[in-house]
Amino acid sequence: MSHILLQIIIVPPIASLFILLTRHLIGRKAGWIAGFSLLYSTALLIMACVRVYHGEIIVEEYPFIDSAITFGLLGDGLSLPVALIINGLCTALAFYAIHYIDHRIEAIYGDVDERTYLNHYTRFYSMFLGFPMGFMGVCLVKNLIAMYFFLEVLPIPLYFIMATFGYVDRVRVAMICLMWAVIGAAFFLAGFLMAYSQIGSFNIADMNALAGNPMTFWIIFVLLIAILIKMAAVPFHVWMPWVHAEHPTCIAGLLAVYANIAAYVLVRVIVFPLPADFKAFSIPLMVLALITMVYGSFLTMGQTDVKRFAACSTISQLAYSLLGISALTIASIEGGMFFFLGHIMGKTILFSTAGILVYTTGTRDMREMGGLAQKMPITTALWIMGAMMLSGFPPMSSFPAEWVMFTGIFKTGVQTMPIGLMVAIFGAGAIILTVAYTFRSVKIIFFGPLNPDLANDKIKDPPLTMSIPLLMIAAVSIILGVCPKLALNLFNYVIAGIPIP
């Protein structure tokens, strides 16, 4: 199969354009078209992953304008599994959204004529496909400018989808989100250009020429600010609960990916080429990550809104990946990346289930729910599985991820007594907080006495197009949890090559 990586990136925009141009012809089939085009690119990614699993590295170069400037794509053990899981989530959410967005249009715009309805419906899908394009681009490119381009593309569909289909305060919050994204992107651009001014190349593979350069400290510093803004780490976390509370839940999982993709950028652009220079940031970042974890957990416990609940937990969970990566051992980085995948799967399930709850009950307040387990068994199972994924329970994939990650973190911790060890111990302790808040929510929402207002026949499990994609994600997580080698071996091809100082 030739041009496999290029196809992965350009299939979504082509499908998007097709949906946009033929919206009155295809009508409500737009969702299926988007879903199947993403299934196709997921299949391509699986093929690519199999090739990489057997030791190959896929490199593609395309001339851009003239032959001097090329657009390079790299599929290796780090980029492909991340791309595969993200694309899988996009696919699942495309199917999930078929019903959900129908419901949102009805809720926001009331009864509208078919033409207006189709305009809204297809607008969602043609914009939605911007996400897989952006994510795949960030994962696969070899060039900093191309990476910046794809990072900058992502907030645009986010802004429009949120402002068109979100909840009450959507327009204002979309603006908040866009502003934070632009500020983050400005720091990315500054960092990339600083790197360029030192090495004269935008190629990520040439970044290791920066090692030992006195400027490198500041380059990493500026890029870290950008990454922390994207990841919503503590001083920059303000936007996350707002944004997560107001957007439609069908892109909620992608918003978690949008924030988390910064972890991938961190490994790809900073940790992988420049581990020795990154070492200086290791302990401060670990402390910051710990603060974020604990703060995020307590923030989550205080929430009563099911959507804000999931949002605040994202702040806390993102910090686990950050902790693992900044501990800077092979095991902790692999674990951190693996946890990132486990977390986005868990968060997608949790958010989408929150969407189902809002969709069926019509309220976002957890206290008004209760006893829903008897009415909605599948939804309950999904929420519990999401909770298990976040808390790192076996057999979910985040269990081996946390295991591997904390092995590495403790190794660093022992070397950097006493701060490192304390961070490691408290970090492991913070997992208990996750268990506490996730299972507390299970208890409040699904068990206990049934709220009399909800004791009608309308409260039932959602249509299959909403639950099956989520069950598939859970299945993938369980497979990776039972057989973590699948992902860890792939990561190991790349990450084992980092010369840990």
Binding site: I65, E152, G166, L193
Partner: protein, 497 residues
């Protein structure tokens, strides 16, 4: 024919301008096709000139066969061939757009409008094409005087705005003329290349120093460089929409061209960098312009006024690139001239389209505008993306070169200013998009009456197509920016950078 392209660029529109009143006296409706047809000539000629420069390098043309320094020489190199193409493309697109807008806004002044329009274009082209310092002044006056008149036929506040512009513009032109006079006193020549050859030995003469400063301040006034910008926002906002669509993308950019010409051709770069450190002052003025212009833009409620302040901010970018005086910075500045021409052209034409449909352009009244005018507003969106610097629009690439220029000059403060200005641009452009695109949110199921249907109400094709061409220009010049730089702009950079 092809050998006389350089002269045809200005001679044809100048003569044609004189015929417009005659044609208008005979039949008013013929003015429009006449102007569009005439403007094809400078377009073809300037493309021919650019082609010749790319193929065989810079050349000169002696007007009337008189050899310099006695006669007027048209010295064509990469820079002015490039700017000539920009001017002729933009003016042709705006002239196509003008028909409906002029009929609606100033129906009784169609004939003078088109006469002045051609004179303005002639002036702008003349400033760029000529290689003679005094000739630049002549064309500058042609352009300015026709510009004053064009602005004065605009909406209510226009005469006052014009008066301010006349005062400040005349001071600027006089300063420039004084500078040229001093140079003539000391060198005895007005030909740019001749002066450039004679000057280096005299760099420390007080006359030359004074001349340099006079010329830069004069051009700075014409360029609307902060703090000399006071005339610009009102003049652009109160002018008829077509006129703003022409002068906003071109007028200040031509002044920016003059600045590059004076700083790096007439004087050698070393003069303004080392003998008198104008460049470093220029960068600081530019940085202030970028921030203050953007902040003023945020404060506006009138779309045209907001865009006018945005012009002030964007001129700061160009001045910053010139002031950085290194390869990346100047590349960014020249690329930004192209970007600004298309982007400001696009957004001002959109503003004109909105005025055409709504009679005014108060941002707070833009509700549902996107649904009424989807194609126009999509073009606005592309323009906004370019202003913010979102790839693959041209604005991204010019900004990236400017930032690299700031980095290689080791002036990190300007990197911060450029990046911060993107954020400010997001604030004021997305505010417009937000009002025009999204309706006021209300709680779910909170809608007590049906979703109101809004019907598409687009502007006529003669306005829509130019807008779309401008938007396409933004994207194409972005996608092909590396090609443009490698074929044209890299030769603009003076030796020694």
């Amino acid at each position: 024919m092809a050998t006389h392209f350089a002269a045809l660029i200005i001679v044809i529109p100048l003569i044609a301008a004189l015929f417009v009143p005659v044609i208008g006296w005979w039949k008013k409706g013929l003015c429009y096709p006449w102007v569009v047809a005439v403007l094809l000539v400078p377009l073809i000629s300037s493309i021919g000139v650019l082609n010749r420069v790319i193929e065989s390098g810079p050349f000169s043309y002696y007007l009337g066969g008189w050899a310099p320094p006695w006669g007027i020489e048209y010295a064509i190199d990469y820079l002015n061939a490039f700017v000539l193409v920009i001017i002729s493309v933009i003016s042709l697109i705006v002239s196509i757009y003008s028909k409906k807008s002029v009929e609606k806004e100033i129906p009784e002044k169609v004939v003078p409008f088109y006469t002045l329009f051609l004179l303005l274009v002639t002036g702008l082209l003349g400033i760029v094409v000529t290689g003679d310092l005094f000739n630049v002044f002549v064309f500058l006056e042609i352009a300015s005087l026709s510009c004053y008149a064009l602005i004065a036929i605009g909406r209510d506040g226009a005469p006052l705005a014009t008066f301010r512009y006349i005062i400040m513009g005349t001071i600027g032109a006089s300063f420039y003329l004084l500078g040229v006079g001093y140079l003539y006193i000391i060198t005895g020549s007005l030909n740019m290349l001749d002066v450039a050859r004679l000057l280096p030995e005299l760099y420390h003469s007080r006359v030359v120093l004074t001349a340099g400063i006079f010329m830069i301040v004069g051009i700075g006034l014409k360029m609307a460089l902060y703090p000399l910008h006071a005339w610009a926002p009102n003049a652009y906002a109160d002018a008829p929409s077509t006129v703003s669509g022409l002068i906003a993308p071109l007028m200040t950019k031509v002044a920016a061209y003059m600045m590059i010409r004076v700083m790096f051709t007439v004087f050698k770069p070393v003069f303004f960098i080392e003998v008198i450190p104008v460049t470093s002052i220029l960068t600081w003025m530019a940085a202030v312009a970028i921030i203050i212009g953007s902040i003023y833009a945020i404060a506006q409620t009138d779309l045209k006024k907001m865009l006018s302040y945005s012009v002030v901010a964007q001129i700061g970018y160009i001045a910053l690139g010139i002031g950085l005086a290194n390869k990346s910075g100047l590349t960014g500045a020249v690329l930004h001239i192209l970007n600004e021409a298309f982007t400001k052209g696009c957004v001002f034409l959109v503003a004109g389209a909105i005025v055409y449909k709504m009679g005014a352009c108060n941002i707070n009244e833009f509700k549902d505008l996107y649904r009424k005018m989807p194609f126009t507003m999509s073009a606005f969106l592309i323009g906004a993306f370019s202003m913010v610097g979102i790839p693959p629009t041209c604005g991204f690439f010019s900004k990236i070169y400017l930032i690299m220029g700031a980095i290689s000059a080791d002036k990190w403060i300007f990197v911060a200013v450029l990046l911060f200005s993107s954020v400010l641009n997001v604030v004021y452009f997305f505010r417009v998009i937000q009002i025009a695109t999204f309706e006021t949110p209300m709680p779910d199921y909170g809608r007590d009456k049906a979703y109101e249907a809004v019907y598409m109400d687009e502007v006529p094709l003669s306005m829509l197509i130019p807008i779309q061409i401008m938007a396409a220009g933004i994207l194409l010049s972005g996608i092909f920016s590396s090609k443009i730089i490698s074929t044209v702009i890299q030769f603009v950079i003076p030796v020694g950078f």
